[in-house]
């Protein structure tokens, strides 16, 4: 199984500021997908943003953007203009283009300080 590593168990950010969550992964494949999922307390996991490995351009969804460094196997999430509703556990995930399995990192708990 592929390994996904999130080295920041907890992060905090002031409301309206910017925060970056880190993720690295290990794979020998060249074609795959990377994801950031958000899991608020006691609520379901929802997709924040997705990146296809064959695309060089970094994905952006409103206040959320990624820095995808394929050679370094790094996939960080930047949250701009942080809002109280952004507080959640964030999981980085990997999926091979050839398989069905999603593999998750251990998560980063984000606190937003008013």
């Amino acid at each position: 199984a592929q390994t996904v590593t999130q080295s920041q168990p907890e992060m905090s950010v002031q409301e309206a500021e910017t925060v970056t969550l880190s993720c690295t992964y290990d794979t020998s494949e060249s074609d795959y997908y990377l994801f950031w999922y958000k899991q608020p307390p006691s609520r379901q996991m929802i997709l924040v943003i997705r990146q296809e490995a064959y695309k060089q351009q970094n994905a952006t969804e409103n206040r959320f953007s990624v820095n995808f460094q394929k050679a370094a196997k790094s996939f960080s999430l930047k949250i701009s203009d942080s809002q109280l509703g952004d507080a959640a556990m964030y999981f980085c995930a990997y999926r091979s283009a050839k398989g069905n399995q999603f593999y998750f990192g251990t998560g980063t708990s984000l606190t937003v300080i008013p």
Partner: protein, 113 residues
Amino acid sequence: DAMVIQNPRYQVTQFGKPVTLSCSQTLNHNVMYWYQQKSSQAPKLLFHYYDKDFNNEADTPDNFQSRRPNTSFCFLDIRSPGLGDAAMYLCATSNLFLPGRAFFGQGTRLTVV
């Protein structure tokens, strides 16, 4: 509008008493997954179905079984729950023909007493 529905949201079972968790989907996705998530840990894939093809992860204990009687439903059976099986169980779906993303249910929190 719920797309992946897990029942029940909370389940309490006795040590050693078989328990079944259910998942249904309205997305008509061909892949369904079961994940186990313990507190402060990553979701761990137990197994998944691609249509009727069952794919077990190598380290999934035999105590965990699954059934998928049709496209819409998938069940997780725990034959003899132990205290270590207490966790959140997440069901998810994806469509092989739509690149990438998985859709998750709200999860079932299992307590073993």
